[in-house]
């Protein structure tokens, strides 16, 4: 293992990643580092993080390390890395060589410590854990062992890989380090969609909405905007990080909290089922700026760099059909009990939506501000050329979440690099989004085919069991 402290004084840390949303994990960490203002260096190792979710990093200070792990939803924990080895012997040798000046503060008599033994890809027996700890006897800890309230916790972390059919007897690698902090996955439960006050049909699961807020590098006193705000789920996660939030939506029902509730057992949304009430539920109401009913295709803002981040999940017609104000006769049925004027709406192709969104971001983001949005993709046709581009925006990351064999969505993160000029305009080089609801049709077709397959399978099973099962009679 390379030196624990390099010439600049940056120490080495080990990040134990979550084993899900694989592509999102490193971009999330990098965006968080940007948000908290910490430089970050990812070390070159031969770990294939798809099967071995461990990353070695260098950071300038422990404070930075704590800030970073304190915001991560796709990381399990962060350790100050003292050593690693492919065998126990190798690890022990490295630990014996660990510089004394670095370990001494934790070995003192007047301090307390404890060990934690954990594994990825295997459940360890108590016996095994005890053996591992016993083998570390050579470490010169002089302090008190305190299993409940130790000042310092030291982890032994074994990596058995992610293939349950090929779990080795001994781990591929073992890490040893001082615990710095845990990721924020517990917050996912606190903010879980079913607990939230206001649910629309497309409320994203809480974990991913926090990841989006991290990708956008949101922070205290920033202004974050969602032009397709719906029920405000993305705003809650930005407000959690101290940003002030603002949203618009074309659907006045959703904004006001009127109409049928999509939650089971509830007919109508109450007056308190709106975005502000959502924020209030988590003590974040003071960060609510405003919401408006407006068409995202037509900016209502004066030319001004207003937003530090635009975070959105556009209505790409898969669950809720896209709408736009126009002059065609396309009467849209959602007008029961509506006192507010709702002009007829026309088809709004995804292509228009995406170019409008990028133009909007280029105009209204501050320089270095970020646009984070989901892009639906038909996987067989995917190339990087379908990603919308704009001369003011650079692509920061592009992470795929697979929804089915043929359909996925990609979380696109872009950063504004220079001021907007009149001549600037978004473009899509290879454009599969031009036909209205093209992606939606493909998705629905696949969903239908799946259902048909399942039904056929189920019918076949029912036939078999009814002919096989003996009748039970007393």
């Amino acid at each position: 293992m390379a030196a624990p402290v390099c010439s600049t004084g940056w120490r080495k840390y080990l990040l134990w990643l979550a084993h899900e949303h694989l592509e999102f994990r490193i971009p999330e960490i990098q965006s968080i580092a940007q948000a908290v203002g910490s430089p970050l260096e990812i070390c070159d190792t031969d770990y294939d993080i798809k099967s071995h979710p461990f990353v070695e990093l260098r950071l300038p200070s422990e404070e930075d390390a704590r800030k970073i792990i304190g915001r991560s939803f796709l990381s399990r924990c962060l350790l100050e890395l003292w050593g690693t080895g492919q065998t126990a012997e190798e690890l022990h040798k490295v630990l014996r060589d660990y510089p004394t000046e670095l370990s001494v503060p934790y070995m003192r008599q007047d301090t307390s410590f404890r060990y934690q033994v954990a594994a990825f890809g295997k459940t360890l027996t108590m016996r095994r854990k005890k053996d591992i700890i016993d083998a570390l006897d050579f470490l010169p800890f002089q302090g008190r062992v305190d299993l409940k309230n130790a000042e310092h916790t030291f982890y032994v972390l074994e990596d058995y890989g992610d293939d349950p059919t090929k779990t080795p007897e001994e781990p591929y690698r073992t890490f040893f380090g001082r615990w710095i902090g845990d990721g924020q996955r517990k917050l996912i439960d606190k903010y879980a969609v079913r607990k939230r006050h206001h649910i629309g049909e497309t409320s994203m699961d809480a974990g991913l909405s926090f990841v989006m807020a991290n990708m956008a590098a949101t922070r205290r006193n920033a202004v974050v905007f969602d032009p397709f705000v719906g029920t405000g789920s993305l705003l809650v996660s930005s407000a959690h990080f101290g940003s002030y939030v603002l949203g618009t939506d074309i659907d006045s029902h959703i904004i006001h909290g009127w109409g049928r509730s999509t939650r089971h057992n509830k007919k109508w949304r109450g007056e308190d089922e709106n975005i502000r009430a959502n924020l209030r539920q988590y003590g974040l109401e003071h960060l609510y700026l405003d919401v408006l009913v407006s068409d995202a295709a037509r900016s209502v803002w004066r030319p001004c760099q207003l937003f530090d981040a635009i975070i959105t999940d556009p209505p790409y017609g898969i669950r809720e059909a896209s709408q736009r104000l126009g002059t065609k006769d396309n009467n849209f049925v959602r007008e029961e009990d509506c006192e507010v004027q709702s002009p007829t709406k026309t088809a709004y192709t995804l292509s228009d939506l995406l170019t409008d969104l990028l133009n909007y971001a280029a105009k209204h983001l501050v320089v270095n501000g970020r646009l984070v949005y989901w892009l639906p993709v038909y996987r067989p046709d995917y190339t990087e050329k379908i990603l919308p581009r704009h001369p003011c925006l650079r692509l920061v990351s592009n992470c795929e979440q697979v929804l089915s064999t043929d359909i996925s969505r990609r979380l696109i993160c872009m950063e504004k690099v220079r001021d907007y000029q009149e001549s600037d305009s978004a473009e899509i080089v290879v454009n599969p989004y031009r036909e209205h609801n093209a992606i939606r049709d493909k998705y629905l077709l696949l969903a239908k085919e799946k259902k048909l397959k399942q039904r056929t399978k189920k019918d076949a099973q029912t036939k078999r069991t009814s002919s096989n099962s003996p009748t039970q009679e007393t």
Partner: protein, 131 residues
């Protein structure tokens, strides 16, 4: 203090909005007509207020606040080093964040077209003939 469940429109937001009726070149600022205003206490965050001030059209803020009778002692011109002037920031905070318009209209200065504010939410949707 009973927290209202109603939503509001703040003067901070009003300062950013413009009329986007087709063909309009002078759509800013929208004239604010308020029928129902509430003043609600909001946590004072001086850093946030100081950050927002450079983004504002100060005169439009003064005009709007005055038109609804809530200008108070807010200075009509920005003074140098306002970022460290806590008293000033408090007054700005009050006007920007604590004066809430519940019902009213935003009127396009060029065409007279009114965008209604209902339950504190402005409806900026245009009609078919305006797009």
């Amino acid at each position: 203090m009973l927290l209202s469940f109603r939503t509001i429109m703040r003067l901070l937001t009003h300062n950013m909005l413009t009329s986007h009726v087709k063909g309009v070149t002078n759509g800013y600022p929208l004239k604010l007509q308020a029928e129902n205003i509430k003043v609600m206490s909001v946590d004072f965050n001086p850093e946030f207020v100081a950050r927002m001030i450079p983004k504002l059209e100060w005169q439009a803020l003064i005009q709007a606040a005055e038109s609804i009778g809530h200008l108070g002692d807010l200075p009509r011109e920005l003074m140098p080093e306002y970022e460290s002037n806590e008293e000033f920031l408090k007054m700005a905070h009050h006007v920007l964040m604590e004066v809430e318009v519940i019902e009213g209209n935003l009127e396009c200065p060029e065409t007279g077209r009114k965008f209604p504010i209902k339950n504190g939410i402005p409806n900026m949707l245009l009609n078919e003939d305006e797009v």
